[in-house]
Amino acid sequence: MLTNLEEHDAIVRAPDVIASVRDLKIHFRGKRGMVHAVDGISFDIRDGETLGLVGETGCGKSVTARAFLRLVQTPPGVYAGGSITFRPRRVCDDCSGVGCRECDGTGRVAAHCPACGGKGCRTCGGTGEETVDLLSIPDAQMRALRGNRIAMIFQDPGKALNPGLTVRDQISEVFLQHRTAEILAAAGVSPNDVLLRRQASQKSRAFEKMLLAVPPLRSGRNRVDAALDTMVADALAQTQIPNPRKVMDRYPHELSGGMRQRVMIAQALACNPDLLIADEPTTALDVTVQARILELIRELQQRHKTAVLYISHDLSLVRRVCDRVMVMYAGRVAETATSQQLFRRPTHPYTRGLLGALPGRGAHRGRLAAIDGTVPELVDPPAACRFVGRCPDEVAACSRTDPPMVEIEPEHAAACFVHAPPGKAAATRPVRTP
């Protein structure tokens, strides 16, 4: 990890970067060979920004997102290389998470580097802030980040909520895993009470639950439950759910799609995470509800200044929601730009194809544009541009070597020999390629 950080000095110079992916490779063991689902991608997520991750089905965007939580199933998945460095925050001491001037209203401040206690050392690259490599930390540390510092909203809330548990049960789990001390404090229980502490961290076994159901201990249990209920209700209220105390007792199937997604969002934002991963959060919803859910995510994000990795295949949504966009194709980054740049000056032929496929005002009725061909097989791919075969502007070099990422203008880079030729601009700095 130490060498990684020295190599990737970007993170030191840009302290506003919350997570930084370098040369990430995720492969899947298939019957016919290694499928290179994600094949050496690098990008940064800045604190408080919304980064859009765009691409068609099977281009590796969901796998990239799951890598942040290390949720890719291994096997068949293999983390074949690269790193994801992440700087977790902690609850602000001055306002205990409410938001104050000290923490810029976010309720979070940077966690001190455990090696030097915030003074700055080699481990943290002199910043004094804790940095972790999400792909190499132990499981227990990863679990402490999941749902707490990095949270995820799933595509279909009807499937991502457990049908057998109430809304209360499901949201309270997040607090039970990550906010035990706060629950006990709110309940007015001493943190030394072993039985209740185990209850407030979801560790109680069957016999402990039986003990806690008997009168002398029951009052303590009820106080913990009441404190937990308040926290759950507050989380739900944030997402503008009317009557949160009633919704808490419902099962997911009793709620509408929009309500379920609100529950999902409440669950994800319960612990005020630093990074929210939204995996096509509106795809499964009615069009009328989509806008309201997007609005809600946007508003909560601005209030908490949470960074959002927004995954979508819908460019028109991305344009509305995201600050920056990264276009992925077949496990590679095709182009990165700010939203305006991408729509004003799309450079990579794949991006142009995607934008061309959007039915716009000028398009003739009855004719829909499409990119010819399909995404290539990613089994042991050759060193060549992945878009070869579908690209209208192909040249000989495209099938011989991989095009590197080349900066076209500040914030805007693309991997294309034709439209972003390496060495054309003097200022071009190839982003690391494997």
């Binding site: 949720l71 749902g147 949270a151 909520l161 457990n162 057998g164 099962y251 199937h253 999902m264």
Partner: protein, 337 residues
Amino acid sequence: MQIRDYILRRLMVLPLLIIGTSIIVFVLTRVGGSPIGIYLSHEMGPEQVQQIRERFHLDDPLPVQYFYWAQGVLSGDFGWSGVSAAPVTAVFPSKLAATMELAIASGIVAVVLGIWMGTVAGARRNKWPDHVIRVVSIAGASLPLFWFAIVLLIVFWVHLGWFPIGRSDPVIFDSIAHPTGFYTIDALIALSPRAFWDAIWHLILPAIALGYGATAIVARMMRSSLVEELQEDYVEAARAKGLPERLVLKRHARRNALIPTVTVIGLTFGFLLQGTVVAEIIFRWPGLGRWMADAVLRGDQATIMAYVMFASILFLFVNLVVDVVYAYLDRRVVLGE
């Protein structure tokens, strides 16, 4: 409230079910001819035979005989068991207790062990515990009970002598009172560890023989539904919340995997009841199954009727319990629709 209504509604079917099955079984037992043989002996003269015919109304038409039987049942008289040479009602309770003790013991073995095996196998899919459990459960589902029971008997009773057969040591059995008829429970009530151990020791072999098949069925169902549940999005969402794998498995996946398993457990109970006949004969267990087998072989109609009535009522209750448990586990199920 809702569940109580549902249970009451289901219980209203009970009288119809009993009348229907009793008519069918009554007729079927007569296919082989008159049941008079069971009541006769060699010393009887023609007058005595005629007396018996009159006593049991055997000269009347079949529907009339059925009504005599039904009338008796309604007044608590299930007839005379020729096999036991006693009234059915006098013999039935102790036999019932013996059979239920065996069926419940093997049912508990099947449910607890089956769910545990299925969970282990499903959670460690395609690793060695899964392979071991697969072999064990395929064997359990395909070995015939009579063969497996005899093998157990030969190995553990004849050769090793580790376990006894029968239900009890008569001396120990008679040393305690039997208020419930369940030997294990009576031993606990009497606070007699010696009797309790005797009861358990006698139970082990027949319970294993009888429970093995059911265990296998439950385990296989549990494994496959757990594997299916573990693929669901909500399992990944639970991991994304930071839950340890133990809770992801127990609190999220296993609970939903139990839903189809419970249905199978309900069906398995019928399988167990059927199995008691074989297991009781092989292990000389003095229960309903063996009694019933004797009765069938000797055409003892009163005994057969009593057994079938009991079995059909029991089946109804088991299905009722399954439905209620099902509704508890799967919140999307609305009872009575």
